[in-house]
Amino acid sequence: MSKRVVITGLGIWSCIGNNIQSVKENLEHGYTGIIYDCRRKNKLNSCLCGNVPTPESSNLVDRHWRIMMSEDSAYAYMAVSQALQHSNLTDEYRNKNGVGLVWGNDGNSHLAHAHRIMAKERNSYMLGVYQPIYTSMSKILLNSIFNLRGSSFNISAACASGAHAIGLGYFFIKNNIENVIVAGASMETNSFFAESFDVLGATSLRNSDPTHASRPFDRDRDGMVPSGGAAALVLEEYEHAKARGANIIAEVCGYGFSSNGIEDISAPSADAEYIAMKRALDDAGIKPEEVDYVNAHGTSTIAGDIEEAKALTRLFVPSSPSSLSSLSSPSSSSSLSSLSSLSRPFISSTKSMTGHENWMAGASEAVYSIIMMQNNFVAPNINLENVIDEAKYLNIARKTIYTPINTVLSNSSGMGGTNSALVFRKI
């Protein structure tokens, strides 16, 4: 029999705040965490990035772990610390009980650093033994530092890593395999990955106007802004959480995924994104009209926003002309009258404020969505001035909207065509 999965702890380290309260305030007021990084000048076309604070972990983490930490591991440590504390999963509890860990990450810059050392020194000893070259380095350290003794998996799925980590953690608990799992993701913010996106032409060139650079679904968007940090959620079996008196924040009730399966690894696919969302809603046992808010993937890239807008329109506005034309058997009884006023769900991309948090995005956006659900507001999709045609039937929130939110859908997609959708519900 399937188990119910609830969230009993949240942790966040991001460019819009490094605790739940500050993130809540910045989401509510539509403040951006995006800056111009002058260190990237004359090297990268785009010098824009999320301004993520460097954690001061020297007094918190033993040197043997600390020197193995990649940049994102330090963010991960801070986020997981918060989530465990929030959930009251004490050292004593973790030592007595198996707590799992499913962590999203798809690489860090130390591999490139190690290559540079080898090219110069031509002696493997000079690498030192603490080079954090593993993609799973943050997961390895989190397991050791926090004595997590259950499942131990790193999920690498590009910019959907964090979302899939939550989804798979949810599956483990739902299927009665584990009771408590820490799920989340982390992403470094140095220029290494920014270089990779820069060379693809995927980044915004609005260097002179950082706060308006990330503008998902806007006609004048010109690319994403690389960002990062870490986000963590404690997932727990419902009865288990009740029995130990945990603070139950929300329920994870749906997860859907799909892969584009097309030749172009960077091309998004409305069809595949639609399938992921539909599967998540089916898993949750709810209809599209029951969704109050969608946290869109909305990266502010040219192609990505168009395809996601098409998928969202097909799912949530099935009577729109574009949705009807995409269906093989359009329902002639569908009425266009409902399109005269936009209704539920409200939609926004918090990447308009955070930039694209890449590996971490699916986890952080789950945290942002749950914060909104707890406080009954929809964070604005800032910088949306002229909505793209493909999104014209969608109810994208341009300003903060105060409204009850009971059910949330959060979308994520990654390079190579991996799509994820998660459904959260108030409890």
């Binding site: 040197r63 043997h64 000893y125 000079m126 030192g128 603490y130």
Partner: protein, 90 residues
């Protein structure tokens, strides 16, 4: 390099890079038990030795070091080996 220079240089990197307290750095202090240096630290110390003294000890040589005093003596003997070439001499 004099023995005192070796001691000073070693103690400096143990404080600055390995975060040991100066009062811990007595010749009789044992690397593993007293200074909390594990097997990975031993490997890392080889790189530190190379950077500070210009010589690269073999792992099996490092494994014979038990106390800090042993380490000072080991560096001194390596530097005084007739066929040892440091980075500076190269």
């Amino acid at each position: 390099m004099t023995k005192q220079e070796i001691i000073d240089k070693t103690n400096l990197f143990l404080v600055e890079e390995y975060e040991k307290q100066p009062e811990q750095l007595k010749p009789e202090a044992r690397f593993r038990e007293d200074l909390d240096l594990n097997s990975l630290d031993y490997m890392d110390l080889m790189v530190t030795v190379k950077r500070n003294f210009g010589i690269m000890p073999a792992p099996q040589e490092m494994n014979l070091v038990v106390t800090l005093g042993d380490f000072y003596d080991f560096i001194e003997s390596k530097l005084n080996e007739p066929d040892t070439q440091t980075d500076e001499q190269q």
